[in-house]
């Protein structure tokens, strides 16, 4: 018993181990891509591109990780993000102030978090159903808010056309190359549901914010034509990274953060340990909602347009990222840094698939599914082996 007082390194916890695995695999994958594909992967821009495109997903995944650590689930995050994008776009286009629009984003996010959290923790309703309803509601509101295609005049269509060529059009059933810009054709496409209209933002203050990028020259590269292209990072990425850091600290060092782990580990125990279980669970959903709001705004900063099909499927991507990063849906295990790398892994795969010339649209989702399958099985095996080792160690004592 004496020697127990001497310093001893504790074995990695499940959260740490799963996170380490995720980071290692990310590194291996990326270095592999660098060696095989060279080109884009050797440039820092590649990483910044991934970050720029996925800042909203990172933020949303952080929120979801918190909820999952607390043993819950929130599938409304993508829909809330989309609602925030649409609401803020409309607000700005109708002469709203940029700062007020930020408040609006946070307000919508918080509102969803508060209501869902209340229903789940104080009325004891299954989180899946509540957030499913939240998802339906947010998606429905988004389409209600979205512009009626019949009223659209030539000008926004011009804007829209611009946006399509900037790569922001999500709907894959239209090929931008063969895209016919005649008004009749557009209206037809909209009626068939093949395309939805953007609410492109005209507010000048917001435009400056949108165009604003942090340029890091020394990380850039020189294009073949001699132009120096600096690595550029949008403000959204800074917000996302900030979110990751803040939530990492919250989970690790804040009373509330530890409460989430306790809650997910064993709810009855958490109650007996004097943790206010209901409030802790409530707050996990509130934080998640708040982050969805922020994510919506970052999304808008990236695309500069509101669209009813924004962020479709984001909730599942966020869940996938959290899982790859080592968060277990059963609760109590997880880490937000892992989640960050989860997002990176998901999107690096997509980049690799595109770079390898597998352009058929089904390749991306099949590889994503395969990767997900690999990680899920790997984790299941790792956890199984560890619990077995632990059990034998205890019984040997």
């Amino acid at each position: 018993m004496k020697n127990t007082k001497t310093f001893r390194r504790e074995p990695l916890t499940d959260s740490q181990l799963l996170m380490t695995i995720a980071i290692c695999i990310f590194l291996v994958m990326y270095v592999g891509a660098m060696l095989i594909f060279k080109g884009g992967f050797l440039r820092a821009n590649q990483i910044f591109d991934i970050l720029n495109d996925n800042a909203p997903l990172i933020i949303v995944s952080c929120g979801l990780t918190i909820v999952m650590i607390g043993g819950g689930i929130d599938i409304s995050v993508g829909a809330v993000t989309s609602l925030v994008v649409m609401a803020c776009a409309l607000f700005l286009n109708n002469g709203g102030n940029v700062y007020l629009s930020m408040l609006l984003a946070i307000g919508i996010g918080l509102g969803f978090g508060l209501v869902q959290g209340f229903l789940i923790s104080y009325l004891d309703i299954q989180p899946f159903i509540v957030t499913l309803a939240g998802m339906f509601f947010a998606r429905g509101m988004t389409t209600i808010l979205s512009v009626d295609p019949q009223k659209v005049n030539i000008d926004p269509i011009h804007n829209l056309f611009e946006t399509i060529h900037r790569g922001a059009l999500v709907n894959t059933s239209i090929d931008p190359q063969t895209f016919n810009t005649s008004t009749e054709n557009l209206t037809e496409l909209v009626r068939d549901g093949k395309m939805t209209f953007f609410e492109a933002i005209k507010n000048m203050n917001f435009r400056t914010l949108l165009e604003g990028k942090i340029k890091i020259d020394w990380l850039g590269y020189t294009a073949p034509n001699g132009n120096r292209i600096p690595a550029s990072m949008e403000y959204g990425v800074v917000i996302a990274l900030l979110c990751v850091v803040v939530i990492f600290l919250l989970l690790k060092f804040h009373k509330l953060g530890r409460g989430f782990y306790a809650l997910g580990g064993n709810q009855t125990s958490a109650l007996m340990l004097g943790i206010n279980v209901k409030r802790t669970r409530f707050l996990s959903y509130v934080i998640c909602g708040l982050l969805s709001g922020i994510s919506g705004y970052v999304f808008l900063l990236h695309t500069g347009a509101g669209n009813a099909t924004n962020a479709v499927g984001m909730e599942m991507n966020a869940i996938a990222a959290s899982i790859i990063g080592g968060t277990l849906l059963s609760g109590g295990v997880g880490n937000v840094v892992g989640t960050f790398f989860g997002v990176m892994i998901l999107n690096t795969i997509k980049k690799i698939v595109v770079t390898s010339g597998l352009n058929a649209p089904w390749w991306q989702s099949v590889t994503t599914g395969g990767m997900l399958c690999f990680f899920i099985i790997l984790q299941s095996v790792v956890i199984f082996i560890r619990s077995k080792v632990r059990r034998s160690r205890i019984s040997k004592k």
Binding site: M1, T4, K5, R8, E10, P11, T13, D14, K252, F253, H254, K255, R258, G259, Y261, A262, G264, G265, N266, T268, S269, A270, L271, M272, L273, G274, I275, N276, G332, V333, R390, R393, I394, S395, K397
Partner: protein
């Protein structure tokens, strides 16, 4: 008397829909005493504890701590008033460290200082002699250590009243002694301890006073030295003791080799080391040993409940392969698992469905027992075993522990086993039902059923078994029968012949 009362509960009432769980109960705890709270299952012990810890709210009466009236609405309220509880099931979080488990939920700091916390935890653990480190994950500790961590937490909270709810049921003797040392230490510091247990010897070992409850009412409060054990039991079950003493010695039975029903050679599983074992028709044998000695693991291996690694098994002289529970069941073996809640009852299903479950499994997936047939079975066994239930369609989860156990017994009796393994069938159930189960075991043996009976109460085993297999450190270290079957000899074998 009331002047050094630490905790007073007066005229406590608690109503549940249809039941009065507590009626007008008084309870007094003094400074620096260990006070046993005794009663059968359903007597209201746990309800009283839950009222005191804020899990339930009392429907009447008052609670005073050091003379001050308090109201307890949540576990936090209880903690704030200096009332801490250590439950039978570990109520800590396995995914947090030992130190975190000791300090979470009661620190005022918004930010957590892990280093400082672990240092304090290590000091306290050292002081109390608990073999754990603050930085260790709780899930990596043994159950006993986890329990002690829970006590350390309570100690550090400067609790005035410490409630220990069945703390010893998952500990072995050595660990129990450490725990008792800890309790006496706390007692010397002036902490009042409420000790809830089923083990009578332990009560007489550490307790100063005993309060007995029966059917939600107070029977009385006694000084331990003034209340002989026999009388205590009488007060708890409220019936004559003759019935208890009516158990004679188990008569000697001679078994020939031809009667061997089950025989295993070098049987081993993922949790049990290889062992040899045989049992005759109509024999009652027992496995004994400390917790973790491998007694449960061995019978689980016989039933195929864990992964069987090797060994040969003969039933009625014929080789058979038992690797899954269904194999064992098809060969006429039944197994009543140690942990009723986890491995026995299907809580939301009705008594009827619980009774027919094993038989249904044996009959197979495609031959369901018809409704009327299953109702007949259920009615029969409810009557035979005297199961107290509102109806056969009542969910088993709402029955009391003893009656749940009877339903599980009925489940196995219905399969008409040739060999029945009962692992701790009497744990956590009231004295009356215990006696009924012991009688049933003897009756089964008379009918030619081989029975393996495991119990942590050696007396109980001595009353029922004609042969005892003693295990230590996952190995069989002795086999006792005939005149060797007495408490002293059993203890000696368990302890390893040192004393």
């Amino acid at each position: 008397m009331a002047d050094h009362a630490l905790l007073e509960m007066r005229h406590i009432n608690k109503l549940f829909p249809g039941v009065k769980a507590l009626s007008d109960v008084d309870f007094t705890l003094r400074k620096g005493e260990i006070h046993a709270l005794m009663g059968e299952n359903g007597a209201g012990k746990s309800t009283l504890i839950k009222v005191l810890t804020g899990v339930y709210q009392n429907d009447g009466g008052e609670i005073r701590v050091e003379g001050k009236n308090i109201s307890i609405r949540s576990p936090q309220d209880a903690q704030n008033n200096g009332i801490s509880t250590v439950y039978q099931e570990i109520t800590l979080c396995p995914n947090l460290t030992v130190a975190e488990n000791m300090f979470i939920g009661r620190e005022k700091d918004v930010f957590v200082h892990n280093r400082r916390r672990e240092k304090r935890a290590n000091e306290l653990l050292g002081e109390l002699g608990i073999p754990a480190r603050g930085s260790q994950m709780l899930g990596n500790c043994s159950l006993a250590v986890q329990q002690m961590v829970a006590i350390a937490r309570a100690v550090d909270m400067n609790c005035k009243v410490l409630i220990l709810d069945e703390p010893t049921s998952s500990l072995d003797d050595k660990e129990v002694n450490v725990l008792f040392g800890l309790m006496r230490d706390l007692k010397a510091r002036g902490v009042g301890i409420i000790f809830v247990t089923h083990f009578l010897e332990q009560v007489y070992e550490v307790c100063d006073r005993i309060t007995v409850l029966r059917n939600g009412e107070l029977v009385g409060e006694y000084l331990t030295e003034e209340l002989p054990q026999v009388q205590l039991v009488a007060k708890m079950i409220g019936k004559d003791l003759d019935e208890i003493s009516s158990f004679g010695e188990v008569e000697e039975k001679e078994f020939s080799d031809a009667d061997i029903f089950y025989e295993a050679k070098k049987l081993s599983s993922s949790d049990a080391l290889p062992f040899d074992f045989e049992i005759h028709k109509g024999e009652v044998n027992g496995f004994t040993g400390l917790l973790g000695s491998g007694r449960s693991e061995s019978v689980r291996a016989i039933f195929g409940a864990d992964k069987v690694n090797g060994g040969t098994v003969k039933i009625n002289g014929k080789h058979v392969k038992i690797t899954k529970p269904i194999d064992a069941m098809k060969n006429g073996i039944g197994y009543l698992a140690e942990d009723r809640k986890r491995d026995g009852i299907i809580a939301d299903l009705s008594v009827r469905e619980n009774i027919i479950l094993a038989l249904q499994v044996m009959k197979g997936f495609f031959k369901p027992i018809s409704r009327s047939e299953s109702e007949a079975f259920a009615d029969e066994y409810i009557k035979v075993l005297n199961i107290k239930t509102a109806s056969r369609e009542t969910p088993i989860g709402s029955l009391s522990g003893g009656n749940q156990q009877k339903v599980i017994l009925a489940r196995w009796l219905l399969t008409h086993p040739d060999y029945l393994i009962l692992d701790e069938p009497t744990r956590g159930i009231d004295v009356g039902t215990k006696l009924e189960i012991q009688k049933l075991v003897l009756k089964l043996a008379e009918d030619g059923v081989a029975v393996t009976f495991i119990s942590s109460e050696i007396e109980e085993m001595l009353r029922t078994c004609s042969r005892l297999i003693v295990m230590r450190d996952r190995r069989i270290v002795g086999e006792l029968k005939g005149s060797d079957l007495n408490q002293a000899q059993v203890m000696k074998t368990i302890a390893g012949g040192e004393s």
